[in-house]
Subunit: 268 residues, 2 copies
């Protein structure tokens, strides 16, 4: 179909996948900001384009689409780059973590464009570590990252991964934990984890990290209420060593010790 | 011991754990750069302090120590903050991923300082997603992150996690893959993964991501040579769907499809 298509006699343009981080301008790297400023065309899911600093959007062609139109966005980005334009595809968080980086590379391959377009992927702060920083230090030891979205992954595969993370004592970060259509999966996931964890295991919930409506809370696994969780949340369940530590100003925090206390005798 | 200690009649200062990202200045967030510029005292492992931009170091007190002196660094940082100073503890990558964030929170608790010091943790680009961006898009589906360092973790725990990641088909990112003292573990880890993966599974190796001596390569699991790996490398082993995709300019890349092709019929 579009294979190798060129327009207007210009050579192919530039295609960059830009990571916006969690949503605050001061968490966008200078590398990504420069790519946004340089681009002529910005392509992204509408709420992600909203995260692009205004100065980098002014005078640009914006191609935005709704949720689950990732393929349309990727097509539009490739077409604009083939037209010779400088195109930035934006993702929130890190574009490589459940983001657009994979789909862009996949479509370059599928459309037979690997000798024409060579997309650059720019990393960003993933929602995962943004949430972790707000919670304290839950990820200082081995961890697993699992999405509960079963749109593209059969639920039994997700369940097998939750079970493995529970058994092997991974701290577990859960993406896409809950939506109106996906209302029972988080409860089931917590049940699978609880079978291998103490009821006191801390569960961190971060909603809208580093955005205006940010909410951060730490709970006991036995008390955690999944119905408080929505699509723009990340849930982090501790491992067997994780514990809740108090803080004067910020309320409870979640800590997964790396093992220093045992090794170095911190209580000297 | 030092519980609640104060010096010179000043109140406690400010303690910030700052993430430097992989090592390039244009991957340090404005938030972290501002914290470095504001700080009076910078504390870190010597090679990490080398990553702090010169302008942010000028005129500062620098407290640097060698490897495995994390506890000394954390003590020094807490002492300086108790002295009323503005202290930044620096980690490369994201300070919450095998970094200093956990140890700082742990020592605040151990020393009974939770009503005195409330460290702020600032996220950064983890080595994990920096490496992923250079490799292509290996992390677009569920993944596990495992350190092979057995200084603080018994090897059987590490092995159990590798086995779980292999069985449940997680893309697996390996931190601290190999050093002079830790020479056999990576070979063993790859053997455990290979028992559940095709010989064609891509393995990505990134050394010194976004630094001067950066080296990026993609291999078949069956051909991968662990002896090429060192302490400043990250290894990412794909899941059952990961594959090698070609690129014109950058050589082979590693892609873990999220499943769009099956769902949306990309070959239309």
């Amino acid at each position: 179909m579009h294979q190798g298509r060129r327009h207007g006699g210009r050579g192919p343009g530039r295609l960059t996948v830009v990571s916006l981080g969690p949503g605050s301008e001061d968490l966008i790297t200078p590398q990504c900001l420069a790519a946004l400023e340089r681009a002529e065309v910005l392509v992204g899911y509408t709420p992600y384009l909203d995260l692009v600093p205004e100065a980098a959007k002014a005078g640009k062609d914006l191609v935005s689409t709704g949720m689950r139109h990732e393929v349309d966005r990727a097509e539009a980005a490739l077409d604009a780059a083939l037209d010779g334009r400088d195109v930035a595809v934006v993702s929130s968080g890190d574009a490589g973590v459940y983001g657009m980086a994979g789909l862009i590379l996949e479509m370059v391959e599928t459309r037979g464009l690997r000798d024409v377009l060579d997309p650059e992927i720019m990393p960003g702060i993933p929602a995962l570590t943004a949430a972790a920083a707000l919670l304290g230090a839950p990820l200082t030891h081995d961890f697993a990252v699992i999405s509960l979205s079963d749109l593209l992954t059969p639920w039994p595969v997700i369940e097998r991964r939750l079970e493995a993370a529970a058994q092997a004592d991974f701290t577990t970060a859960i993406y896409n934990p809950r939506s109106r259509r996906r209302h029972w999966q988080l409860g089931k996931a917590l049940e699978l984890l609880a079978a291998h964890r103490s009821p006191d295991t801390p569960v961190g919930l971060v909603r809208q990290a580093f955005r205006q409506d940010q909410a951060v809370s730490v709970h006991r696994l036995a008390d955690f209420d999944p119905s408080a969780v929505d699509m723009v949340s990340i849930v982090i369940v501790g491992n067997a060593s994780s514990r809740i530590v108090g803080g004067r100003f910020g309320g409870d925090r979640m800590l997964t010790p790396r093992g220093y206390a045992g090794k170095y005798d911190l209580d000297k």
